[in-house]
């Protein structure tokens, strides 16, 4: 099946199988490796990407569903240099192993787009679909809160 999509601003035209999921197409056909394979059932959030600006689990999205749509991965977020939020993650020692980091950066980026001054509860809610086993979330939440407009974004 024919699939036309835009990934981080670059247009792609691919021939895919009906059963192919977006995650595999990004990783194996387009060579974008930041969305990770963690559970393949939407539980862990490691495969999170932005679909027209909205976070989705790319392991649960059929590739053909995104025909004509725009995908953003963390490579797209930080292409012009680290975003303010990425820099805050670095400053706050927000990640350890880093496997969940691409997904969390995207979920948090989406949050701040829609809600420039989130509360701690808002941040917890926005990140509740992204599992992290290393950090205990505390430094991640701190970094996102520091990215709020009133915190000097």
């Amino acid at each position: 099946m024919d699939l036309k999509l835009t990934v981080n601003g670059e247009a792609w035209d691919l021939d895919v199988e009906p059963a192919d999921v977006l995650l595999d197409v990004l990783r194996e056909r387009i060579g974008i490796k930041s969305p990770k394979i963690g559970c393949e059932r939407g539980d862990c959030g490691s495969c999170t990407v932005l679909l027209d600006g909205k976070s989705v689990r790319s392991c649960l999205v059929l590739a053909v569903e995104v025909d004509g749509h725009e995908i953003t991965t963390v490579e797209g977020v930080g292409y012009e240099g680290l975003s303010h939020l990425q820099a805050l993650f670095l400053e706050n020692n927000a990640f350890q192993c880093g496997f969940c980091a691409p997904g969390i950066v995207l979920s948090a980026t989406e949050l701040l787009e829609n809600n420039p001054n989130p509360t701690r509860h808002d941040v917890q809610e926005a990140l509740a679909g992204n599992l992290c086993r290393c950090t205990g979330y505390e430094p991640i939440i701190d970094a996102v809160l520091a990215g709020g407009e009133e915190a000097g974004r």
């Binding site: 963690g38 670095l90 880093g98 599992l131 205990g136 979330y137 505390e138």
Partner: protein, 793 residues
Amino acid sequence: MTTTYPFESDKSGDDFTTVGTSATRIDGLDKISGAAQFVDDIDFGPGLLHAVIVESPHAYARIVSIDTTAAENAPGVVRVVTGEDFPFKFGMYMEDRYIFAQDHVRFVGEQVVGVIARSHRQAIQAAKLVEVEYEILEPLFDPKKAIEDDATLIHPELDDYTHVPWFFPKENTNIAHWRKIRKGDTEKAFAEADYVLEDTYKVPRYAHCAIEPHVTVSRLDQAGRLTVWTASQSPYTQRNLFAEALAPLGLSHKDVRVITPYVGGGFGGKAGVSMEILGAAMATVVKGRPVKVRWTREQEFYNTYQRQGVVADLKVGVMQDGTITAVEHKLCWDAGAYVEYGANVVNAAGLSATGPYRVPNITNDSLCIYTNLPPGGPYRGFGYSEFHFGLESHMDRIADAIGMDRVEFRRKNAIVEGDELAYGAHMNPSGLIEAIDKTAAAIDWGVDEESDDPNTVIGKGMSLFWKAPAMPPNASSASFLKFNEDGSMNITVSGMELGQGYLTVMAQIAGEILTVPVNKIRVETPDTDRNPYEWQTVASHVTWSCGLAVEKAAIEARAKIFEVIHQVYGYEDDSLYLEDEKVKCTTDPAFEKSLSEFVVDGIQTEEGTWRGGPIVASGKFMPEFTNALSDPETGQGGHPNVHYTVGATGVIVEIDKQTGKVNVRKAALAVDAGRALNPDLVRGQITGGLVQGLATVLYEDMRFDENGKLLNPTFTDYKIPTAFDIPDEIVPIIVEVPQPDGPFGARGVGEHTMIGAAPAIANAVYDALGVRIKSMPLTQEKIAMAVIEESKT
């Protein structure tokens, strides 16, 4: 009496420029930008093959026949392999495991057949066509039943298995190892004690749940070279086990290369060799083709290692003044179908099952018992998380019984430097008392708090912890260091960056000695062809052990730098020192020479010739003062542990009386890091470990059915914490009483932060509700039911 250490690190100054600072982690940019490459992210081209494993549906069975014909003829299939192709055993501490099942399967999920195909999808389809006939045998799941006299033997050949000299298997039983400690006269002490408390505590199995699943890609090339890319904490141990297990195929250590890029979390689950050997073996039958094996999340739960369950029978005697006089601790471990790694968890727990207390009379029995559940193995805490639950619950109960404050009771008995340990060696310097006091202060210990909500009650709980690295006495670390033309450095080591920040800390150690800033130092993840030896990244020992190897390499490099300056300018070595990446001289304040001017190209003399050349150095460390040999019946005579890291955990909880829901309002944890080489990274370990520990007591719960099948091998059903499930406030407390032989006084803290959470919660639940729950986890349901039961009495 204290231990004499062969090497004393510089721990004198407070004027360090790099060590002790929260330098930004050197792997941070890779990880935050998406650039970090994990094994599954590496491209292997169109020749890559994918393997899927056919697993046993039975907990204990004899394999009657295997028919792979249909699978072999399925589209895309390249090879199908079984145990007949690899009749080899392997194992870390005891060789009791098989690459593929031989004549028996011993747990649900054991690997029976491997199907190698051109695509992952084709391998999955073909695996469904494999037919295996089994004769089902009676499985054993309860460790106490497995040691009854008439129990079926899970490993009838146990007595023939090769194992390390400090294991004591019992022939014709399911006991793979029995660690005994006998010190003093426990019987007499109990008879003379004013108060004795005896009870049983139960801790179930747990899963590591690193977010990156196990994955390995292996290729045996046409020249006979086996390369394995693997998500591992222990590349050299893996190389050793691959080379040993596959030696019959003509491989030697030099032919095996293990490459480990970033690892997406380990927690012990990637410490040894579990599924990785499947890939290494299968690569040998498809020469030239890389073969990928990637575990699904389900396999991640049931076929790597699980944290072992334990039934702990504990008896403690005290005098009325609160002095502990005797501890008798019997730990019956549900070690699973294979104990090649897990038996050492049992050993470590047995050596230290008194907890961080001064106890004159000790009887410890730690039994490694085969069951027909998945193989047990290392998990952050390495046995200590498990036995501390009962031990620290018990300490609260004893304090209450003799009318002593729970914290004061612990303080009175807390082990201090020089106290004799269970096996006769002596305790290292520690800040345990300081940790107790600071933790108690952080949760306002002694101040009763009332909830504003009539439906909830507030309770406080404290627990202490200790842990020593469990490692062979000859476990070693090594490092190579080289300077570049611009004065920057590359360091190679073979510890793993698991997220703890190890690479950064190694850079800080070398940077401190050579006055080179961390951002000019690159430390690379392991490739066994290029990087020097490291035993494993486990036991919370790499900061200490590999840190010493890096420190020695840096000192050697410094000596070589001074030697060049001496040759050219004649200054005596002992008048030279480094500052801001320059060599300076105490006897000639006008002299300075930047490292970047000569560390590769050398220095030209007045005659026009050159001196020096590339500065390269190496360092190694082995804990030569340790010794694992001791009397099998008493455990006396050896020096099995290098040192202990200690600390305390305190929590304030608010519990809904009706629903049993626990909200952790505050959690404080103090750990004695010796010296925090990077305080932010230490705090990262405290926060992460604390939440992982809280998860084992509040949320996680591994459930097996009556046939030994794991019922909840997904994140939907095995609930690990989300961003919502954390304490309202976490207070990380760093204590620094230097370790005499640690790099700048440092000792490890990685695992320790997980140990105290479970008993602290159990004690807080009792404090709030007056119910004592003696089995983990303390789920909402269990607490609510206990409250109902209590109200009936």
